[in-house]
């Protein structure tokens, strides 16, 4: 009982920290985009967290943890029914559910993760997507795609049987969000003015770097819960190791991206520093409990490099991702997943191949479902706002409000 209590306290705190990441994402996204779209981004973020919890309560949780995969066996698809059904004993909650947390904590922790996946998309598609289309997509993605993928590993499905390892979700959360981001960004097209006639990428500076930086530090804090909670108990050795590897990879990722980009561009580019930190965090996520300090630092350093290069690569492909979500969550998510086969306790060629397959399978499924969803939505309500609305800003067009208005009524 004492042990459950303490484990559960830790898990609740981690839940709160993961919840708080939504403020981090909001700040990061509004900071790196233009003022005229600020309300729109905030609205999307509010929608994702509120809708995410409700939808995950109604369908997601029972799709992700279906128990016996009753729909397609061999660990592919199962559904334990709509809504939540707490296990009871003698009229009270059955605390034998798990040593590490209660049923309720389990749901809430997982629900916060689910909302995260949709938020990743939000940043990449900012400043031009129709808000209704975005909302529709995220309902379906959080409600169906994310939990199905999750069930394959965390719901004890076929990826789990295969030996695929993803501690806290480099693939299951970050890449799942990242693939959707990639697909929608592709179908959506770049913001007006992002590429010149010759296809050269142009900078569209964000309007509030202080808030973006705050977002990064808040996300880092949230990762204490994201990775620390993924131990699924308060086990002292594992949780504390996880926090150390998380922080070292994050630090190393930031330093490495800052260093590399300074070498390349001769200016101390703080946006790269920020993306490097986030890249390090995503990179360590798959193996945070399997690494030592040195391998975490190395994983972080490489993640920093991955971020800098992939941001470049993505822009070269004329894909426009205002906040770098694809580089951070997809590319570093893949890197982190593979790194489990390269560094740390589990490193082996065999494991590497398993990790690679996991990345491939998940990627394929996410891309296919995203393409289907997005084409459907495009047909139904269109994807992109009009040129006029984009130029005047989504805040005016969709919300009739200014982010920093003041005494405008007179």
């Amino acid at each position: 009982m004492e042990l459950l209590t303490i484990n559960n306290v830790w898990m609740m705190i981690c839940t709160a920290l993961v919840f708080f990441m939504h403020l981090g994402f909001s700040f990061l996204e509004i900071g790196l985009t233009r003022q005229k779209n600020t309300i729109n981004i905030l609205f999307k973020n509010f929608f994702v967290i509120t809708m995410g919890l409700v939808v995950y309560c109604l369908v997601g949780f029972n799709l992700m943890y279906p128990g016996d995969f009753n729909l397609i066996s061999s660990g592919i698809l199962g559904f334990a029914g709509f809504g939540l059904e707490a296990p009871l004993i003698d009229g009270g909650l059955d605390l034998a559910y798990s040593e590490g947390y209660t049923y309720w904590t389990d749901f809430l922790f997982q629900g916060m993760f689910a909302a995260t996946a949709a938020t990743i998309v939000s940043g990449a598609v900012a400043e031009r997507i129709k808000i209704n289309s975005f909302m529709l997509f995220s309902v379906l993605y959080v409600g169906i795609v994310y939990p199905i993928v999750g069930s394959w590993k965390w719901g004890a499905g076929f990826l789990d049987s295969l030996g695929f390892y993803d501690f806290a979700g480099s693939t299951l959360v970050h890449s799942v969000g990242g693939w959707a981001a990639l697909v929608i960004v592709y179908f959506l097209g770049a913001r007006i003015g992002k590429f010149d006639k010759n296809g050269k990428s142009r900078a569209i500076p964000g309007h509030n770097i202080p808030l973006a930086s705050a977002g990064v530090l808040i996300l880092w804090l949230g990762w204490f819960g994201f990775n620390g909670g993924s131990v699924l108990s308060a086990d002292p050795a594992n949780t504390s190791l996880t926090l150390v590897t998380t922080c070292l990879a994050s630090a190393a990722g930031g330093l490495s991206a800052a260093f590399i980009s300074t070498m390349m561009y001769k200016k101390l580019d703080i946006t790269m520093f920020m993306n490097g930190i986030l890249g390090g965090l995503v990179g360590i996520t798959a193996g945070a409990d399997q690494m030592g300090p040195t391998s975490s630092i190395l994983i972080g350093i490489i993640a920093g490099l991955v971020v800098v290069l992939s941001i470049r690569f993505i822009e070269k492909r004329k894909l426009d991702d205002p906040v770098g979500a694809i580089a951070v969550h997809l590319f570093c998510g893949i890197w982190g997943t593979l790194a489990v086969g390269i560094f740390g306790n589990m490193a082996s060629f065999e494991q590497f191949i398993i990790q690679l397959s996991g990345v491939g399978v998940v990627g394929l499924f996410c891309v296919v479902s995203s393409v289907i969803l997005i084409l459907l939505i495009k047909k139904m309500c269109g994807l992109r706002v009009s040129e006029k609305e984009e130029k005047e800003g989504l805040d005016l067009a969709e919300h009739g409000m200014d982010a920093y208005a003041d005494f405008r009524i007179e």
């Binding site: 006029k388 009739g400 409000m401 009524i409």
Partner: protein, 112 residues
Amino acid sequence: MKKIEAIIRKSKFYNVKKALHNIEVNFFSYWDVTGVGNEKEGHVYRGVSYSTSNIQRRYISIVVSDEFEQITIDAILESAYTGEVGDGKIFVLPAEEAYRIRTKEKGKTSLN
């Protein structure tokens, strides 16, 4: 010399800048103002919906020599146009003299 002041939609600024560039007017200053005019914008705030004629616009100020006056005006008239209420105005004021601080020269050659 003339001072040309144009009050345009912010969303047309990029266009106007390009048009000015094409006629080699690469020298101007601009800032954001609130304009009151015919256009109305619908807003909502904490459950009060209202429409305001106070609209964010961009103010462009260019000093040109007399022979550039018309071509500059035409460029702006063309590039800032949408045809809907709220496209903005251009005003022309007489200017007597211009100085370039860097060289202390004055007159036409100091304009660019």
